[in-house]
Amino acid sequence: MTVEAHTVQDSELVQLLTPEGERLEHPDYPLSLTDQQIRDLYRDLVIVRALDLEAVALTRRGEMGLWPSLLGQEAAQVGSGRALGTSDMVFPTYREHGVAWCRDLPLINVLGLFRGVNHGGWDPKEHGFHLYTIVIGSQALHATGYAMGIQRDGHHGNGIGDATIAYFGDGATSQGDTNEAFVWASVYNAPIVFFCQNNQWAISEPLERQTKIPLYRRAQGFGFPGIRVDGNDVLACLAVTRRALDSARTGNGPTLIEAFTYRMGAHTTTDDPTRYRHSDELEAWKLKDPIARLRAYLSRSGLAKGPYFEEIDAEAKQKAKELREELLALPDPPTSALFEQIYATPHTLMTEEQAAYEAYLAGFDD
């Protein structure tokens, strides 16, 4: 019952870079990048991992309530994130720190959320990066509606218009909202890419609790293409997402991408995966590490050498340090924030409750 979903048939997985760092060609996904572009991808991966690890460490120190680590999913996020155009719109879950990085959203915003200073608070328009969405599956519909908005703007079908990408996990494919999004996107031929990071686990539940067949095939049932890509291969993720976005932009409707990857860490810092999974699974996936394979390729092909790697590591370390400092300097919100920005226009009850609470607090000063 579990076999089919769990086994990757090599034939159905798009891969441009083997775990050993060997470059493959794929007839449907030609990819030509400059040397610098490939090095930049490497830099992204390393920095994103460093920032994530820093966030885990800060959470362990009590600076945040919780942190959902992206460890192991860097390539899926950076590859897809770097495929996006500036005016495209991303709809993330709560784990897309790597995509946030690609969208130039200062990560302190994300750390602020998990510290509890607000529920997100950034401006999605500014970065083409919507707020984190925690209720599983919800954002798939938002993304679809947004894509329908693009269609109504006339920014669509010409190959240069905007597109939308919705991220979600393997667990999210079971939610009604996700499947409704598939219906809508298909029926309206909306310019959207559904990017499913299949990291094999939804907290403690293995993939077999959500599906009996490979997830990318879900799309067939709704009449649009689905494709499985090696989620630990940043080049393949880039190529596959780029093509799906192009397809959306040119009026060919949605694509479902299943990025086959692995959640190397706990679900969040409060989770204990030893309760439900074996370490040999983890060990097997370590051999497919997204950073190691790109580094191997860079070395082997002579695109980068030792000092370059050291330089990137140093930069990542520095960025992590800066992030830590930013977090430690982050002020708590003022009490007034409790009552503000609930409504965009004045609201009598809000005004009343705020006044009453301020009077109550003032009573303690006496």
Binding site: H142, T144, D177, I342, H347, L349
Partner: protein, 328 residues
């Protein structure tokens, strides 16, 4: 004056809502209509009749049959700058969309610290009295009033329907807009150029001195009839806005009358009446001659239609409450 008369038309409540949407669509290219059967059919109550023909399929959208999808994609369209007006076909079918309304629509503005606005209207024909089958006669307003981040309105007559729906559409906050379906065919002259009473304000629809009756939606008419039938002077207030409540108007009235009865179709238990009663009592404690009384549905699911006349508050049940408050 001449101009005002010129723009007055006798409209049913349904037609007034239709006129409000037509005007909003014409004035603001970002306004969209979405829902099941709202396009070609014009809605099962014909409230959106003719709008698709006039404004096209891109702006008046027949959607797939999925309420969560309707609200979820409306949120996405709002994020792209649109102002979707969503129709939920019947009150009992809003629940598949409840998650999107409560966890997303209501909370998006705060989640973004004000960077995002959510000018989405969720239109819901509500209430009973039309002899319908299960799920077609409910009054779920209390669920939404208890949900912070939403505004909740209920209209009771064609003129209000016309102005209130336009206000809801223009409002940058999400509004759940309740329409009294059994009053869809009630008629009155509607001034198409009047700005209407400001959003959020209750209206004293019948002044009185001895008791205050509070109602909204379909019950306003019932309460006016009861006030008419009662031998002492009864003030009737149409709340219009259910969240926030216009407690200033309500309290001022009860301070004058000293007695208060609240009427809604929804079950009394856990309904909006409890909230209002608690607030009125807190503000008018020393002035009240009797406890605030509530008239409403029973703590049962909405019954099959052969029993609905018992479930629904009617003239007699309102009179009974007036009787009790005066004889307390």
């Amino acid at each position: 004056m001449t101009e005002v008369v010129a723009s007055a038309e006798t409209l049913t409540l349904a037609k007034a809502l239709n006129a409000a949407m037509r005007r909003s669509l014409a004035d603001d290219p970002q306004v969209l209509i979405m829902g099941e059967d709202v396009g070609k059919l014009g809605g099962v109550f014909r409230v959106t009749d003719g709008l698709q023909k006039e404004f096209g399929e891109d702006r008046v959208i027949d959607t797939p049959l999925a309420e969560s999808g309707i609200i979820g994609t409306a949120i996405g369209m709002a994020l792209r700058g649109y102002k979707p007006v969503c129709e939920i076909q019947f009150d009992g079918f809003v629940f598949p969309a409840f998650d999107q309304i409560v966890t997303q629509l209501a909370k998006m503005h705060l989640r973004s610290l004000g960077n995002i606005q959510m000018p989405v209207v969720v239109r819901i024909p509500f209430g009973g009295g039309i002899g319908a089958v299960e799920h077609h006669s409910e009054s779920p307003e209390a669920y939404f009033a208890h949900t912070a981040g939403l505004r909740v309105m209920a209209c009771s007559n064609p003129a209000d329907a016309y102005s209130m729906l336009q206000q809801a559409i223009a409002c940058p906050d999400p509004v759940v807009f309740f329409e009294p379906k059994r009053r869809y065919w009630d008629k009155m002259p509607v001034d198409l150029n009047a700005p209407g009473v400001p959003m959020g304000e209750a209206v004293t629809v019948r002044p009185g001195t001895d008791a205050t009756v509070l109602a909204y939606g379909p019950m306003v008419k019932t309460c006016l009839e009861a006030a008419e039938a009662w031998d002492r002077s009864v003030e009737v207030i149409d709340l219009r806005s259910l969240s926030p409540l216009d407690m200033a108007t309500v309290n001022a009235s009860v301070q004058r009358t000293g007695r208060c009865v609240i009427v809604h179709e929804a079950p009394v238990f856990g309904g909006l009446g409890g909230e209002i009663a608690a607030r009125v009592t807190e503000t008018c404690f020393y002035r009240l001659e009797a406890p605030v009384l509530r008239v409403g549905g029973f703590a049962t699911p909405y019954p099959s239609s052969r029993l609905e006349d018992h479930f629904l508050p009617d003239l007699d049940r309102v009179l009974d409450a007036l009787d009790r408050t005066f004889s307390w």
